[in-house]
Amino acid sequence: MGSLIPLHHLSPGSFGKVRKLTAQGNERRRMLDLGLIYDTKVESLRKSPSGDPVAYEIRGAVIALRSEEASQILVELLRTDR
């Protein structure tokens, strides 16, 4: 098992697996509703023109998250693509 990095440190084009959510309460619930449960594969797609937010592919949907939110999602970097 590799080390955990916050989701917004995942560089565009690479994949990560959700390991931990540090958010709590309503914010956590909203993340869960997006399908961000343990083991979910997430791809970082692209940064917006000014670098933040970043678009991710989560369970077939494209979702943009600000760094404040993404930093509360810890992922394990996946070395192999796809």
């Binding site: 959510l21 619930r29 869960l32 449960i37 023109p49 933040d52 937010p53 494209v62 943009a64």
Partner: protein
Amino acid sequence: MGLTHQSTGLGAMKEMFQVQLNSSNDLVIALAGNPNTGKSTVFNTLTGLNQHTGNWPGKTVTNAQGKYTHKGNNYILVDLPGTYSLLANSIDEEVARDFICFGRPDATVVVTDATSLERNLNMVFQVMEITDNVVVCVNLLDEARRKNIHIDLEKLSKLLGVPVIGTNARVGVGLNELQDAVYSVASGEVKTNSIEIRYDEVVEDLLRMLEPNIRESIKDKIKSRWVALRLIEGDITILDTLKNYLGTDIREDNTVSAALTRVAQYLDKRQIGKDELRDRMVTRIIKFSEEIREKTVIFENQQYNQLDRKIDNILTSRFTGIPIMITLLGLVFWITIQGANYPSQALAMGLFWIEERLTDFFVWAGWPDWLYGALVLGMYRTLAWVVAVMLPPMAIFFPLFTILEDLGYLPRVAFNLDNFFKKACACGKQALTMCMGFGCNAAGVIACRIIDSPRERLIATITNNFVPCNGRFPTLIALAMIFIAGTAGKYQTLIAALAIVAIIVLGIVITLIVSRVLSQTILKGLPSSFTLELPPYRKPQVGRIILHSIYDRTLFVLARAAMVAAPAGLIIWILANFHIGGISLIQYGANILDPLAYYLGLDGFILMAFILGFPANEIVIPILIMTYLATGHMIELDNLEALRELFVSNGWTWLTAVCTMLFCLNHFPCGTTMLTIYKETQSKKWPLIAFFVPTITGMILCFVVAQTVRFLGLV
């Protein structure tokens, strides 16, 4: 079966959710689903123009209802807000949940997107926990086919235990079958056997402890398992909601409160917190969705969303994203301004032809002059003016805007600009409400509903007026042409266009600054969490768009404007025609305002025109002309040169023009917008703030510019 609306009585349903039943035989159908699933297309296609929109009682959430008839039965379709969940995280979710649960619809249709079924199943399961009477509609089948995604609908139906109907609502495919399925479920002809989600041991343990007591307490009115789940996860608000709708407080039931204590003890002993418990529950639902998807969906082409990604690479890239966005919005404005010219003139001719007939009628009837003046020259003419100036640009702007919306481009705008808004402690979606404001600020204020955080929604509402609407563009364009580009010869149009762009950019900068100031003063707070879905691009349905944007937006805004403009016309006419000591009331007012106006680089008449233009911004220039010429009713000079001479002879300089443009951009919202802000915020405080914030901003700006220019001796 539980309680249907027949047994609770027509009145209850009407009162709580404003569902208008014609007879007790009407079947009430709720339409639920995620955003971007084509839910509104299903709604529109089924109900046609037979719709009624309003607000949910006490909430600023749109409540859209429509009627349709299918095989001799009358149906009332209630379009619930599009949400990803029913856990009541937001007002939208609360409204949707309450209606499905307490509104007791005869059936609930959950519309899902075939291209991302897994994500949508989350909602399906949540609805099925509340009610058994569910029909799943798998929409956008054509998009799925295009992406080589195959769904085994029959198997899905078997697994879920409810009817599943595949549709392609934009062309009407599958809707007949959907209506049949809705009938069979709503009438009870088909008994659904909806699957129940089994949670992990801890949750099931807790359910066994709590559910029997709840079932005993609330009988069959609501699914006890669902209520128990909400209580287990610690959603206390559900108790109040239950009490509200059912009239019973289950907390007063001793066995229930005893069971709740046991639940708390159980959790304490195992040291399971609220968050962890919720994780367990959500994880189960999502895993279950994943399992169902694995059994029913085949992706023949793993690269199915490559095209969307390629488009996004261009439209949201670091280098081309923002330039393309500006070009597109510029194009929309250009088409609107150019395209509106001719129909505006035609409309004006038509309406003034009617005025002549009215004049003939008054003459024929022999009614007195003052009545003719007040009703025709005051009321009718102002109304005609507003219609002629407002209708064509809106009828062009709104459909164009809706096309961008339908394509899926607007979320990309929010994505591109979010960082600026984040720095202003606001929401990226504010960019979209501003775009809407270019058409009409009242429409922009309504659009603020898309912003989830109440604080950020208020910021967007208050600052919406800093983008010039269609009603103010004519003033800005005329002044830019006359005074800024006046001597530039053949480059006149170009320079005027650049001046307009500069004004718009200024408006955006002011929006960001004021948003920031508001976040640090009366609307203190940090930016809330921001999740924005970038849905797949879709082919827009041009025909439907034109029909609906004219029907929903244009006519709606126009009706509100007309309601304000007609009485205003009457008042303005009276002010212009009542004389005290030889001068009209308008002149009198202007004289009073003159000293203040001078400091702002304006004159009393200009300020007076803005004040009298409160009903609708487009009448500012006509009022100004009317007072300069002292004719007592509005006229329009048809060429800009004549207008320039009139203004210059009344002491205008380029500074006057600049200050008038600045004040045009930054002053109180029009009456329609104020009314809308009041309706949206349900308070008198926010419209007042929305009134003063731009007005004070404008006064400061005009004062600084005027005094600086004068001090430097530039005029």
